[in-house]
């Protein structure tokens, strides 16, 4: 099979031959697409890394190490980062009060970063899968020893013409390095889902040490803001009495009460005046008419659907 075309100017096709398995004895070819990495926000390693689109679902670092070793020889490949391993969004872990106060711009960005990092490192919960699988068609960024190695890989990929020269997926990966999939993987999953309690306890403790610290800081900050005029001489108004800021539920309770009072007042004054009665009756009639029209429309719609009015046989 001769490959003459390229996906587009930038991408180089890298076919991988997939060996047949007893459960699916068909030889298949998986196509990945390579290009020099050029993210929107450049990083220092861009020059020596390659963007790989359409990685196989069961990719691991070891798989790619073996793959590139067979392509350009060992020692060129450093590591690979999978698109789906990056946690896209870490939700904020600050107490709500702190977030509100942060709106005043008094807190520093770096501080936040550090806290997040700490939460990430010290308080993460254990993973539940021994090996990750990636959605079909995901991408990854492979990091090579130097710019030259990356170029070599692209060149080698371009040179691949005959299927028998295609690198073979999983060849050269030692059994020890690859976490098995299949039934062992599922068994492992069931085990990992239930981590030891001590581990979870430790992580939770670590988390709340941090969280309580943040909460305390926020409280102090709030207190300070209440008493201190800012540079323009204004004092920030925060909730609560003299002693401490109000709690959220107190405020909500107060609001509830006020609404109830208003509601009661309103009810007392309905059906009081003659014109109210009259308008009410008018509204009722109008509503009845409207309902009649709606029914008519409904029946019309039913009629349009054929057979609605024909008794079943």
């Amino acid at each position: 099979m001769l490959r003459t075309s390229t996906p587009s100017e930038e991408f180089t096709e890298l076919p991988i031959s997939i060996p047949p398995l007893p459960s699916f004895p068909v030889e298949a070819t998986h196509w990945t697409y390579l290009r020099r990495n050029a993210p929107k926000v450049p990083t220092p390693d861009d020059s020596r890394s390659l963007f790989i689109a359409n990685i196989p679902c069961d990719s691991t670092v070891e798989h790619f190490r073996a793959l590139f070793a067979s392509l350009v020889g060992p020692g060129k490949f450093e590591t690979i980062t999978f698109e789906h391993d990056k946690k896209p969004s870490w939700s904020t872990h600050e107490p709500a009060q702190a977030t509100r106060l942060a709106a005043h711009g008094k807190r520093k960005r770096e501080e936040e970063e550090i806290q997040h990092f700490e939460i990430k490192v010290r308080a993460t919960l254990p993973p539940t899968w021994s090996r990750k699988v990636y959605p079909s068609g995901s991408s990854a960024v492979a990091l090579f020893a130097d710019e030259k190695s990356a170029g070599l890989v692209l060149k080698a990929a371009k040179k691949l013409k005959k299927p028998k020269h295609y690198p073979v997926w999983g060849k050269g990966v030692r059994d020890i390095d690859a976490t098995p999939l299949g039934s062992q993987w599922l068994v492992e999953h069931n085990k990992l889902v239930f981590p030891s309690k001590d581990e979870v306890q430790a992580s939770t403790d670590a988390y709340f040490t941090l969280f309580n610290k943040m909460e305390k800081e926020a409280r102090q900050l709030a207190k300070r803001l209440r008493n201190e005029p800012d540079e323009d001489g204004f004092v920030t108004v925060t909730r609560g009495g003299r002693a401490a800021p109000a709690r959220r539920d107190e405020a909500e309770e107060a609001k509830q009460k006020m609404m109830e009072r208003e509601q009661k007042k309103k009810e007392e004054m309905t059906n009081f005046y003659r014109f109210q009665m009259r308008e009410k009756r008018k509204a009722e009639q109008a509503e009845m008419l409207q309902r009649f029209e709606e029914d008519k429309r409904k029946v019309q719609a039913m009629k349009e659907k054929r057979g609605k009015f024909r008794p079943e046989t």
Binding site: S23, W31, L125, V133, S136, L181, E294, R310, P311
Partner: protein
Amino acid sequence: MEPGTAKRRKLDHADGGPTFEAANATASTMGSSGASAFVLETEELLKEVKFDYGKASSDVEDVLRQLKDVIEATEPHDPFPISDVTVNFEKKNRITIPYPDPQPAKDAPYKLSFEGPAEVNVAGSWILKTNTKSQPDLAVDMIVVMPSSIFQEKDYLNMRYFYKRAYYLAYIAADLREQLGATMEFVFDHMHGNMLLPILVARLKINANRDDGSEKSNSRRKSIPAIRIIPCAPEDYFPAGKLTAVSNAIRQGKSEGGEDTKAPTPFYNATLKAEGLFPSYLRLLYRTVKSCSAFKDACVLGRIWLQQRGFNGNINHGGFGHFEWAVLMALLLQTGGRKGEAVLSPSLHSTQLFKATLQYIVSANLQKKALVIGKDSPDPESLRQSMPVLYDTARGINVLYKMTPWSIAMLTEQAKWSLSAINDSPHDQFDPLFIVKADQPLQTFDILLSVKLPTSKEGVQSVDRKGFVCDFSTKLYNTVKKALGERAQLIHINLPETGTWPVSANVPKTKNASLLVGIIIDPLKASQGRDYGPPYEQKKEAAKFREFWGDKADLWQFPDGNIVESLDWTEYSYLGSPGICEAIIRYILKLRLQVADGDLEFYGQDMPKVISFAPSEKVAFDAAREAFENLEGDIRNLGDLPLHVKQVAPISTALRRTSLCVPEFNFRKPLLQPMEVVVSFEVSGKWPENLAAIQRAKVAFLLKIASSLEEVKGNVRTHIGMENTTRDDENLAFLDIVYEDGASFRLRVYSDLEEALLDRRTKDQTIERHVRTEAAELLALYKRMYINLPLHNQTISTFCTRFPALSSSIRLTKYWFDSHKLSCHFNEEVIELFVLQAFLKPYPWQAPSSAITGFLRTLLMLSRWDWRDEPLVVDSAGSLSTSQRLEIGTRLKAWRKIDPNMNRTILFVATSHDVSGVAYTHDGPTKVVATRMTSLARSACKAVKEKGVDLGMRSLFQSPLRDYDVLLHLSSKALKSITRGDASRRSQYKNLAEETGLGALPLLEPPARSLLRQLKAMYASPLLFFHGGADDTVIGALWNPQLHARAFTAHMPCSLTPSGGSGSGSGSIRSDKEGEKGGMYEVNRNAILAEIARVGGDVIEKIEVVRE
């Protein structure tokens, strides 16, 4: 406000206009607004079904005139002895005279003669113009009134009238055939299945005349209905006094005892009586049509209603047809009240007439008491008979003489069910009343059996000439009814059909026919193991009881010393209610009616084995419930929790009696899949005000509960488990609690602050849009888990106690979803709601009383549900108001407007607790799956309708695997070993194995589910997977047909391969396109399947490609 006042005038003026008047008129007569929809719908229905007389009537009239001319011109002849006439006539004309059984004796002394008819007239619905298009037996009735000169007064005796009538008919037939035989064909039939009354059916021959046989005239011929020629007696000819219900008109021979000769022959008498009343009733109906404008429409509605329930005037179909309906209404329009006043008013609307008549049928209690309409009611004694009685005094006849005890019971029940439909909700009363076919045995009856008619008529035939089939079935009915007692709510017998026969043949005999008996059981009482009879001291009753039951009757002593007669069926208890009923029926029919076991056949025996009707499953569910109550007590008693426990709510199917697998556990074999439970605490301000932190706090709570529980109760093991999530502001963990006795639970903690925070986030306009949508998703998940599920659990468990058949129906329905590999797309709660809906809105039936009926009606509901623009409203609490319902409809419309292609939120299922309608279908089935569900349900209903009782139940649960593109065959061995967890020994992580080796871990979920979840996540766009229950070893998959070949993008929907890369010879096309935008890329199917094979490893035994 009087209309005269100034204000009123002003108002009128302001609102005036014809629409308002019309609306007002309808609304004022119909009351609430829902009714107006019903009125409009029935009007449409009437328009649709009414027979178009304009087209056919002139043609029909031509034919009728021809017939009439011939009949009137028939040659008279003088009386000759019956035997001579018969032989001569039959020889000459080759027509067998349709004498009713028994044939007249050869030496009978009376003579037959023929004279021209006194009158020939068209009668029946044709003249009233109340026929419908959908009527299967559309025909014009033509009555031929025989002249009184050919009869003698004593002809009422010993069937003499009927012999003469048969001869008269045959004579006419001979003449008609001679003169019109070229264009018409003539056959005999029994009028209304009454063996005494043969009639002649004339039908135009299709393609009779080749010369003028153009297409058009043929099609016109087809539109001409059959014409039934009905000879009848002259009015008031026979003495009414001799033909009452208690008099005997058939004198048996001398050989019989004197007693027997006096046995009343009510059916014979009424038939004879009715022979002279055709014109009289015709006049009555005609008068009513004139006086009441809505009468005709109401008759048509009645006809449709009866027809959908399988009723018509034929004795085999209940003996209550359009004629009886019309007469009943006409009589009620005149009189019928307590003081003789009219029950119905002629100014009522047709729908009101219809409803009022139904109401009257229900309240009249015709099963038990004789109803007399009109003045001068006769002595009630003179009306006593085994048939239901509706006595029309003006004409002196029982209108219902053709009905049987079971058909009146059925009619009353049907009317009752329809009334409850009318009274229930104004919105969906129309379909069950007029559209749904309600006489499907499988959906109506819980137990169905066929009884072969015995060959010997010994001891069954009665003097009353109702026919052997009727006599036998009456006996059967009475026996079964008495034997089952309270176990049966309704027993119905379907009689075999009788058909027409050619004029030259003998009257067909019913041979090898069988009766179909349907029984609706009372699920509470039907499973009793022991019946109690009268006390031993009441000698007379006790003797009767013993006589009826034979050897089976024994004595039973209560602990308080009382001794009663009783019956012991406990040896069949393990079979549940159907088994017990079957045993009773088999026993009693053998004893009383000598029906051998081979002559009885019970249907529906091949039910899938998942639903054992055994009481043992009830015990298992009870045990699960008890274990839960234990857990609740233990948690509440934990002293050292920082907050008070407010509620421990079950959310597991096992705890609401609806799980497919019965939760069985014991000391040695703990429950593998823990039962899910939600714990909520008192409202507290101590929860941290941050979503992620709340989740951590929940984990802390779980840890605390775990340590306290283990401390307090020595026999409890706990495991903290991680939720399968990638976010950190979703629920992170759960706690599995395993008791020593094998019960295990999965605990999650509820925090009310979480909802408030999520709610605030969804409404916060200041944050980014995608964050808000995410928050909305989380909120939906949260509400489902902590609010809807506990309520749902409570609702379903309540209804499971209220409807004994609900639990097993739900489980059977789940099995159906499983066997069609649909269940991986449906939340179990949705399926439960489907079934619940079939129980809450069972119309046109009552709530199902067995698993099979419950299941089949759920399928019927699904097949009729157009989820494209109808929400399913399951009003379990009965609390939804009209406006709320409207609102639900509007919400669905809004969904459809936003997403007309229906990419998400396909099924819209609202309940009293959740009017949003998407709580259980948010992540539910896609359009493809929902369509598949509907089409499967439709084909199942079609099979049920077409095959009837011959349907093998198991065939409904067989799903062809050829429908899928790819099949993943899982290795059941590997799955089992994962479930048992014995693969852990092979694990390379020695340290992990030891750490958790303290005791077997609970199962997170069935391994096939875990795998499927991963596959779904990996191939969301190219493949759609289908998988049934946990032990289903085949995963079906379909390729997404919308993933066409496409140009290159870095963000791929799935693994792609360059088009033609596999050498399909499309190279030239490719090079064409290259010039502009590069090659095209298509789904790399083989690579994907190879990937699946690698990921599945030894779990996937084989990947089979069914279709390329």
